[in-house]
Amino acid sequence: MIITTIAVAAGGAFGALVRYMVSERLNSDFPWGTFFVNMIGSFLLGLYITIGGPDVLNSMYAAGFLGALTTFSTLQFELVTLYKKDKRKVLYYLVLTYTLGLTAAWTGYLIAAKI
């Protein structure tokens, strides 16, 4: 349990840092950074979930890194703030995130199932 927690912590620290660095570079009047990490993270988790791996690696990578790399709260907050600025953009952001997010996870999942 202690080792698992340390693994989740290490992955979480790294995931949050990567998310911040990507968002810092790509977020402008449209939150491309958040969008991008959420898509990549969903794809990688879809890919990983069927392959699995040793428990410790699993905790570090899936629960720690990919969980922290992607974010739900920031997405919801961006939807709210974007709605006040540009109603058309909020619709794009909403539709793009949910359709491509599910497609990304599904693609990863299908690729892994084929391997």
């Binding site: 698992t4 927690t5 989740v8 912590a9 290490a10 992955g11 979480g12 620290a13 790294f14 995931g15 949050a16 840092l17 998310r19 911040y20 968002s23 959420n38 993270g41 969903s42 990688l44 988790l45 879809g46 979930i49 905790s59 629960a63 720690g64 990919l66 969980g67 922290a68 790399l69 992607t70 974010t71 739900f72 709260s73 920031t74 997405l75 919801q76 907050f77 939807l79 709210v80 909403l94 949910y98 997010g101 599910l102 990304a104 996870a105 599904w106 999942y109």
Partner: protein
């Protein structure tokens, strides 16, 4: 320094998500509600934090650590996506649609409610001063 703050926040957020996830996990639940509860609580706190919490702290490095690090890591989009795919893969379309709608509608509701709480509490504090 801001990177250290975000890394520490991210670490704590991920560990808390992991522990809450284990605590709420029920093997026979048809609905992946640990992730839902985590995402909604995180969205509510983020809404509150942006309006009031960040005003209380005021230190930009610490605000980044809590907001981007801790709350960003605590909630997760990847688990939400894959849970939906797994539900659909099992043919549980009705549950998948419910899970999707509850998460997305209540997610926005949670942020708005958090922001509202923050502004009400801020206003109350202002009146007391």
């Amino acid at each position: 320094m801001k990177y250290v703050s975000i890394a520490v926040g991210g670490m704590l957020g991920a560990v808390l998500r992991f522990w809450v996830g284990i605590a709420l996990y029920q093997p026979h639940a048809p609905f992946p509600f640990p992730t839902l509860v985590i995402n909604l609580i995180g969205s509510f706190i983020l809404g509150w934090f942006v309006v009031q919490g960040s005003q209380l702290i005021r230190n930009r490095t610490l605000v980044l650590g809590v907001q981007t690090g801790f709350l960003g890591s605590f909630t997760t989009f990847s688990a939400f996506s894959i849970e939906l795919i797994l539900l659909m893969d099992q043919g549980l379309y009705a549950i998948a649609i419910q899970y999707f709608l509850i998460s997305t509608i209540m997610g926005i509701g949670a942020v708005l409610l958090g922001m509202k709480c923050g502004s009400v509490l801020l206003g109350k504090e202002g009146a007391e001063q």
